[in-house]
């Protein structure tokens, strides 16, 4: 069994966003309990990670863009405040939300200073974090596979009673058939 002493105490399950997500998935499966509830909970977790990876893929590119603009020296010596502002500006600009004119001017000035426009900055940032994006794509793919396998496991567990009942009936029917054919044979022999 896994030794989860290091992971014990992580209260992600208490995070409202995560709880809401799990509750929504459980509700879509008619709130199962026990074994089926745990299986659906694990299924919900796989859906959760797809959401997280997708969000973080975008955040990764935006962070890289902000870092590139905020970088000053040879090393990562970056003005944290500026980077944070740039991150918000970039995410606002890329999602077409309303950012004030002054901020847009600042961003444009910084990009021009570094010889970039928004597209070229994004392209360069994406190139920089390409290995991480590849890994995230693989992780997302893995979650889809997990979902498929967990759904199969859920269906097997859910329909196990019906399956067992059906198998029991089939076995009983076969036993009866065998018994009947035995009796028929005996009668046939007796008649002859």
């Amino acid at each position: 069994m896994a030794n989860n002493k290091e992971v014990a105490g992580q209260d992600y399950e208490q995070a409202p966003e995560y709880q809401q997500h799990v509750q929504a998935v459980l509700a879509s499966y008619d709130n199962p309990e026990g074994l089926l509830g745990e299986l659906v909970g694990q299924l919900a977790d796989a859906f959760w990670w797809i959401k997280v990876y997708r969000r973080d893929k975008e955040n990764l590119v935006l962070s890289q863009m902000a870092t590139a603009l905020a970088k000053r020296g040879r090393y990562v010596e970056v003005d944290q405040h500026l980077r944070l502002n740039l991150f918000e500006l970039l995410s606002g600009r890329l999602t077409d939300s309303n950012s004030d004119i002054e901020s847009r001017v600042t961003l444009n000035e910084l990009m021009t200073e570094r010889g970039h426009n928004l597209a070229s900055l994004r392209a360069e940032a994406s190139r920089e974090v390409l290995p991480q994006i590849d890994t995230m794509d693989r992780l997302i793919e893995r979650q889809f596979k997990n979902i498929r396998l967990l759904m199969q496991a859920h269906d097997s567990a859910k329909f196990a009673p019906q399956l067992h009942k059906k198998l029991d009936l089939e076995i009983k029917q076969l036993e009866l058939q065998v018994k009947k054919s035995d009796e028929d044979q005996r009668l046939e022999v007796a008649r002859q």
Partner: protein, 178 residues
Amino acid sequence: MKTSVSKLLANRANALKSTGPKSQHGKHASSKNAHKHGLAESLSDGERAPSLLNAELVNDARRLGYSHEDAVALIDALQTNRSVILAKHAAYAEKPIEDRMPNMSMEKIDELLGWWMSPEVKVTPRERRYIVKLLYKEVEKDNDPVRRLTLKIDAHRKLMRYEQRAVNRLRRAAKGQK
């Protein structure tokens, strides 16, 4: 900030003096230093003592029509997969802000180092460069969001094979296959 960096330096300095554990207990403890999540053992163990399994879930599986043996195998697989999920969440958790190193350049670290170290401490320029680099790595890790996210992604990449094996095993167990 001063406290955490000083503590780090003191720990490093003390660690250099150490010749390793002496007692059996210490040796046993240090043999587990590289132990990260224990998932590897859990997946290769195969059978688990039924007492460690959630009895309620085993009973539930029995109620669903699984034989005792199949129910134990299914709940074992289910709990192993839950352990992988917990490890994933733990690996993705953000380091609390108060535990992070403040953002500063190598030059600044070097400058502060001179200020923190007492004149009795004899450190060669090479050792000093090493300490600065070590501290700078921590600064980088704690302050660069790209780096922080990269570390988390990498941790999940490493857990991927455990995830794959755990879910496959769970699917097989649910189907009543060994």
